[in-house]
């Protein structure tokens, strides 16, 4: 089955958001993907606990790709949480085929020229290009905080934000 959903969220695993998605999707594995986080021993210890019982791996982009393609990975229903849009694009360019791509939280980076396209998603021109590249590879983007939220097209939100 492999990657049933990819969420782009710089808050990684947090509170009820992750739990709700895991339940709605019937996921039995979470992979948090980001090269820096994968080398942070505190995060590697903490994130699986924050996942409250769902088997969780904290991996680099390369290791995420390897796991998803592995025999074990193929048997699981995996929720991939990519920290940054660039992580998501790298995964897709590396061959990951998520069934859905959802844009969650992105905090503004101080010093950049960003715009909040939703209450919790900051976008710069560079980010917009990355999101378009993801969509261009055949992965429509939605931005639902919770599973029950209305489906939308993230590219429309980018346009409304002037990107």
């Amino acid at each position: 089955m492999a990657v049933i959903h990819m969420r782009i969220d710089n808050r990684l695993i947090h509170g009820q958001v992750t739990a709700s998605w895991v339940n709605a999707l019937g996921a039995n594995r979470i992979i948090v993907t980001n090269d820096k986080v994968a080398h942070d021993p505190v995060q590697k210890m903490l994130l699986p606990q924050a996942a409250r019982g769902v088997p969780t791996l904290v991996l680099s982009i390369a290791d995420t790709l390897a796991y998803a393609a592995s025999e074990q990975g193929q048997k699981e229903r995996i929720l991939v949480i990519a920290k940054l849009p660039q992580d998501a694009l790298s995964l897709i360019e590396g061959g990951l085929k998520p069934a859905e791509v959802n844009v969650g939280n992105q905090a503004p980076t101080p010093g950049t020229r960003f715009k909040m396209v939703t209450r919790s998603i900051a976008v710069t021109a560079e980010d917009a290009a990355i999101y378009r590249a993801i969509a261009g590879k055949g992965y429509p983007l939605t931005s639902k905080m919770m599973p029950g939220d209305r489906q939308n097209d993230f590219l429309d939100l980018l346009k409304k934000g002037g990107f």
Partner: protein, 112 residues
């Protein structure tokens, strides 16, 4: 409103668009600012939430971080802290009183 204005007490609110590193910074700055001689005690809403994640580096260096904060717990701590000289002990009291304060009033009143 209940126990009056407090000293050596800080709150850190969180934005929906919070950045974990920034939040960690804000929490650690606040913790350093309130720190007296007997240490610091941190309360967060729930384990696994961003405030808890951001407090985890403090927790690893020995600061008690109590998750699942409720109002009775907080009141107990604010009233007891002048009588306690250990943040760790205060944390244990907080957890006890937090748990003890969860009840069903209907059952309590019916003598059940």
């Amino acid at each position: 409103m209940i126990v009056g204005p407090q000293e050596h007490f800080r709150t850190v609110g969180m934005d929906p668009a919070a950045d974990l590193d920034e939040l960690r910074d804000q929490i650690e700055t606040a913790a350093a600012a309130v720190s007296g001689t007997d240490g610091t005690l941190v309360f967060v809403d729930l384990m696994g939430g961003s405030p808890a994640n951001a407090s985890s580096y403090l927790a690893l260096s020995g600061t008690p971080v109590v998750c699942g904060c409720n109002l009775p717990m907080l009141l107990e701590v604010l009233m007891q802290r002048k009588h306690t000289s250990s943040a760790q002990q205060l944390a244990e009291q907080a957890i006890r009183s937090g748990r003890e304060s969860i009840l069903n009033l209907a059952q309590m009143l019916s003598g059940a």
